[in-house]
């Protein structure tokens, strides 16, 4: 029983890229990191920072895009085996032209995502038997709404005319997820796959479909009254080419592989976490885009 409670408290999931891959230079994926799991709902605030160097081959147009996203996230269990998750991101971003130093800010509500997952398998819920290895499999999906502004105006001096430097994609996209977690004693493993099917937005722009996957290992230990859970893993994102008015742009999409390290700390109803991701291999936008290291922190209240 004790094991079961601890498990419920700390069992983790990673769910792949959501809100920011749309705006984050087409490849700004951000997975959930390690989450407090079990049957408990939560509400929290998450902050993400990621940056890109763009147009690497250009003498004058090379730029850096910095995306800062503050996001309210929550998870609820309306029915025992069904979890509903929601993400409401707000961006404070900017683009800096490296040659001239000119910066263009971008601030506002980004795209809201709502997901529902069903517990296909859950050895913790299904039985009270003390097992050596426990499993959990969630399957589900959801929708990414077009709540963030997408404005592609070549004739504006104040906007960046770039589909990747936007608050949202302008499109309603469909997401499907598979999330698997296994636990043996103090060790655990997460793996997940997420596929996003995009649609054409009202401006005729369509981002490439996206496949994200991750695997990570975590270890639970205690530090005084706190539970501490360091974790490490690999995250891979792949995206197809974007198209504009039906015309495929080959200088979009690509892949990036990140090494991820982080830790979670649990204090009763409070959970805080930090996670750092470093790209280890990438080929984005036909080599014209480089993803830099990313940082995610969160503070979350369980209920």
């Amino acid at each position: 029983m004790k094991k079961y409670i601890i498990w419920c408290l700390i069992m983790t999931l990673t769910v792949p890229a959501l809100a920011c891959d749309l705006c984050g230079c087409s490849n700004g994926g951000s997975f959930f990191g390690i989450l407090p799991q079990g049957h408990r709902g939560f509400v929290g605030l998450r902050y993400r920072y990621n940056s890109y160097h763009s147009h690497l081959g250009s003498q004058n147009l090379s730029s850096r895009e910095q995306f800062r996203t503050a996001e309210i996230w929550g998870r609820f269990y309306p029915i025992k085996r069904v979890q509903v998750m929601a993400f409401v991101p707000y961006q404070f971003s900017q683009q800096t032209m490296l040659k001239s130093g000119l910066t263009t800010p971008l601030q506002g509500l980004s795209d809201i995502t709502v997901l529902a997952h069903y517990n296909v398998l859950n050895t913790f819920m299904d039985t009270e038997t003390d097992r050596t290895i426990n499993h959990n499999l969630l399957a589900g999906g959801g929708v990414k709404l077009a709540t963030g502004r997408f404005q592609y105006n070549e004739n504006s001096l104040t906007d960046v005319a770039n589909p990747n430097f936007q608050l949202g994609t302008g499109s309603t996209d469909w997401i499907s997820n598979l999330i698997y977690t296994a636990r043996y004693k103090n060790w655990g493993l997460n793996a997940d796959v997420s596929y996003r099917i995009t649609t054409k937005n009202p401006d005729g722009y369509r981002f490439g479909n996206r496949l994200n996957s991750s695997a990570s290992v975590f270890y639970l230990t205690s530090l005084g009254s706190r539970s501490v859970m360091p974790n490490a893993g690999l995250f891979v994102e792949q995206a197809g080419h974007d198209s504009r008015q039906g015309e495929v742009n080959k200088q979009t999409g690509g892949y990036a592989t990140y090494l991820n390290v982080g830790t979670e700390v649990y204090l009763n109803k409070l959970s805080v976490g930090v996670s750092y991701r470093k790209p280890v291999m990438q080929h984005l936008s036909d080599g014209e885009l480089r993803a830099n290291a990313q940082l995610t922190t969160h503070i979350t209240v369980l209920f």
Partner: protein, 276 residues
């Protein structure tokens, strides 16, 4: 047992998907001497480090004069591409008129370019003297002098084509010079005469630009050479031009300093060698 099997099946699928990376090694294809492809040249007009948006008073020249542009047109001709081995591929009798109001005009295409690695591009700003003096029937397309509407690119009364035209407004222009504080700078003059009239100065200018990366034409690669064209150089080139003093140029002799300036406004910013 069956359940355990499906678990391991699932895990291996997840792990396999992580390892799957769509990595394609970029290797230069061999040059097939018989294969040709097209080369696109993009003219992106800018003002200094800013985008060029017509009608917006967002710019300032070195004389400190704020200005807006309302028009920017120029002819490009006699394009040649030089391979890394020094051989030159010429594209004679192809004339292009780049106009800021027409985005399609800003992307020109050279067809049937032999495979090879091209390192330099050369072109003339304007219309050469031979073509300028050729019969009207041979001057078609963008050289058709009846095709310009009220945005004329030809001087009937003087010296042939207007090679380069820039217009706009500036609060630095005295209202005594122009009541609406407008400026118009039109550059022409191919060095010939018209109907036996005296020869003009020659304001034809030829530009050679090196490419930061080579344009690698192959049967499956049609490169795009992306030029940045900095209209600020019209005022802030080798000659410093103040709009308060120079705001109306319509004669070739007066336009030479402008031609020497705009000769410096072109740069190859980058080259795309996308596989088709």
């Amino acid at each position: 047992m069956r359940l355990a099997y499906s678990y391991s099946c699932l895990v291996s699928t997840l792990v396999a998907s992580l390892l799957f990376i769509s990595c394609s090694k970029e290797t230069d294809d061999a040059i097939d001497p018989n294969a040709t492809n097209s080369v696109a040249i993009e003219f992106e007009n800018r003002v200094g480090d800013q985008k060029l948006v017509l009608g917006t008073p967002a710019y300032k020249n070195a004389a400190g004069e704020p200005f807006a542009l309302t028009k920017l047109n120029y002819f490009i001709s006699n394009i040649a591409l030089r391979k890394e081995d020094g051989t030159v591929q010429q594209f004679p009798n192809q004339y292009f008129l780049i106009r800021q109001t027409d985005s399609q005009s800003q992307l020109i295409t050279l067809k049937d370019v032999p495979s090879g690695n091209y390192s330099d591009i050369t072109f003339t700003i304007g219309v050469d003297s031979v073509k300028s003096l050729s019969p009207v029937a041979e001057r078609v397309g963008v050289l058709d002098i009846t095709s310009y509407g009220d945005d004329g690119m030809y001087w009937n009364w003087n010296s042939g084509y207007i090679f380069f035209k820039i217009e706009g407004t500036s609060t630095a222009i005295p209202t005594t010079a122009n009541a609406n504080q407008q400026f118009g700078i039109h550059v022409g003059g191919y060095g010939g005469g018209w109907n036996g009239s005296p020869k003009t100065v020659n304001n034809l200018r030829t530009v050679t630009l090196s490419m930061p990366t080579k344009a690698t034409v192959r049967s499956n690669i049609a490169p795009t050479v992306h030029l940045l064209v900095d209209a600020l150089k019209v005022f802030d080139g080798p000659n410093k031009i103040s709009l308060a003093k120079t705001n109306s140029v319509h004669m070739p002799a007066a336009a030479t300093p402008v031609a020497d300036n705009y000769k410096t406004m072109f740069q190859v910013d980058h080259v795309h060698n996308d596989k088709q």
